[in-house]
């Protein structure tokens, strides 16, 4: 589903964000990217949804080298992926329903599809009945659920999550993890960057560990260490 071949990414300030990174993520897998801040986890995710391009190497998603994709095709690549962030990136002037509907609206889905899919996904993430709340009327965990609903409403084949539990207390984080786990069970490939020991150790999934831009460990059913 996702394959990186000898990817090197450098930023202009001469620091190398990623050096010669290669790995293969099969369809339906759940992968943790772990490592300290600045080790290149977020950069990896940004390469996968083509927010950035590597200096060297290739990034393959669903059989296509996305760095050779025409600029006009990128929106269609992104429609196959969901993105979840540490800071949720919700629109504060829109309600829960509108935030999720927005993702379908801007890719041109008709109203009747929106009215059918949004309640379904809100139900899935456990926010049924809170459609008309605004983000600032919700707890952090609930806000993250909205953002997961928005990422998942279009049934993406890949979900990229950047520190989704980073702002949440352990119990709430656990809830978010079980939600991501069930999304993974629907067949969605999940790639999650984190430095939250507990969730990694509790889940026992594949762990790719980075240190200063280099893969230092790639382990099935791993722990954080």
């Amino acid at each position: 589903m996702i394959r990186l071949e000898n990817v090197t990414k450098a930023y202009s300030n001469e620091t190398t964000a990623l050096r010669d990174v290669s790995f293969d993520i099969p369809k339906g897998e759940f992968v943790f990217l772990v490592g300290p801040s600045g080790s290149g986890k977020s950069t990896l995710l940004r390469l996968m949804n083509r927010q950035e391009r590597p200096e060297r190497g290739a990034v393959w998603v669903a059989g296509a080298n996305i760095n050779e994709l025409a600029e006009s095709r990128i929106p269609y690549l992104r429609r196959t992926m969901g993105n979840v962030f540490q800071d949720y990136k919700l629109l504060s002037n829109k309600t829960v329903f509108e935030n999720v509907a927005f993702a379908l609206e801007v890719i041109g889905k008709p109203r009747h599809v929106i009215n059918q899919q949004v309640p379904q996904v809100l139900d899935l993430v456990g926010l049924a009945g809170k459609e008309d709340r605004f983000p600032n009327q919700l707890s952090g965990g609930e806000q993250q659920r909205v953002s997961i609903a928005r990422a998942f409403v279009n049934r993406p084949v890949i979900l990229l999550a950047d520190e989704p539990t980073g702002n949440l207390d352990p119990a709430t984080g656990e809830g978010i993890m079980s939600l991501l786990d069930s999304i993974n069970r629907f067949g969605t490939t999940v790639v999650m960057a984190t430095h939250d020991h507990r969730v990694v150790n509790a889940m026992r999934r594949r762990v790719i560990q980075l240190d200063r831009g280099v893969v230092v460990r790639d382990q099935e059913r791993g722990v954080y260490e």
Binding site: N49, S72, P75, R78, L91, A103, E105, V106, P110
Partner: protein, 301 residues
Amino acid sequence: MFQRVSYALRETFASFKRNMTLSLAAILTSAVSLLLVGTTFLIQRAFDNLLVQWRGDVGMIVFVRPDAEDEQIKFIEESLRSQPNVINVEKLVYLDQSASFDEAKRVFANDPTTLSLLTVETVPSQFKVVPITTDTVLVRNLADQYQQLPGVQAVSLAEDEFEVISTLSQFVRVVTIAMSLVLLAVAVVLIWNTIRTAMFARRREIEVMKLVGATNWFIRVPFMLEGLVQGLLGAVVSCVGLWGLNEAWTSGVAGFKPGTGVSSLVVPGSYVNGVMIALVVVGALAGAIGSGVAASKFLDV
């Protein structure tokens, strides 16, 4: 489709409200610049009316009495043709009475009093003479000579009639075109800035839109619409101003005595309408294209 249109309209309106002051500045600047552009066209047209008889380097006009005999006309023409050192024989043109009447209709377009005194029968026919020499004394001597010929009503020299006007017209043209170009540039910069501010205000939304796979066109269209509306509103304001200016000018000129030539400075309404349509098109295009370019530039994340 309806979904997208209503989305774009909603966003355009919301953004417009959010950036009210900047939008107003952009609208007013484009209005003033377009008004200047329009005024330039009207002034040119007014001067053109005045100079219509002198098109194509005509330096001297011999007006022939309406009751002149054919032999007299022939004699005038032959004597003109016998002066190849002074006049350009190739370019000698004779306007018969009906052609002269057509021309008079243009010159006196807004001087119905004078025009009503003229008919195809009473209008003088004319020889348009293009001098070949730059020696004005020679041309003037020739004019004096023809003044005496039988059948000649009058001889007009370009020098006396319009050299001042022509110089003035060129000067006004240069100044107004330069000013309107500068103002048009200012208007585009202001529209550009409004769009940049609008996009900055919505950067989170744009980020989300890009991440969920909205196409660049989808993101761009509301901003282009906003720019288009600004340009369009500016153009409408400038049209109102232009119309008012022309009305004031027309009624002002009507106060002059008929036949002084000043009355031909009036611009016909159909021409004003044409200029106004052009302004609306230019305003809308400048707004839409300017903001489209701005939106594309700031979409590159």
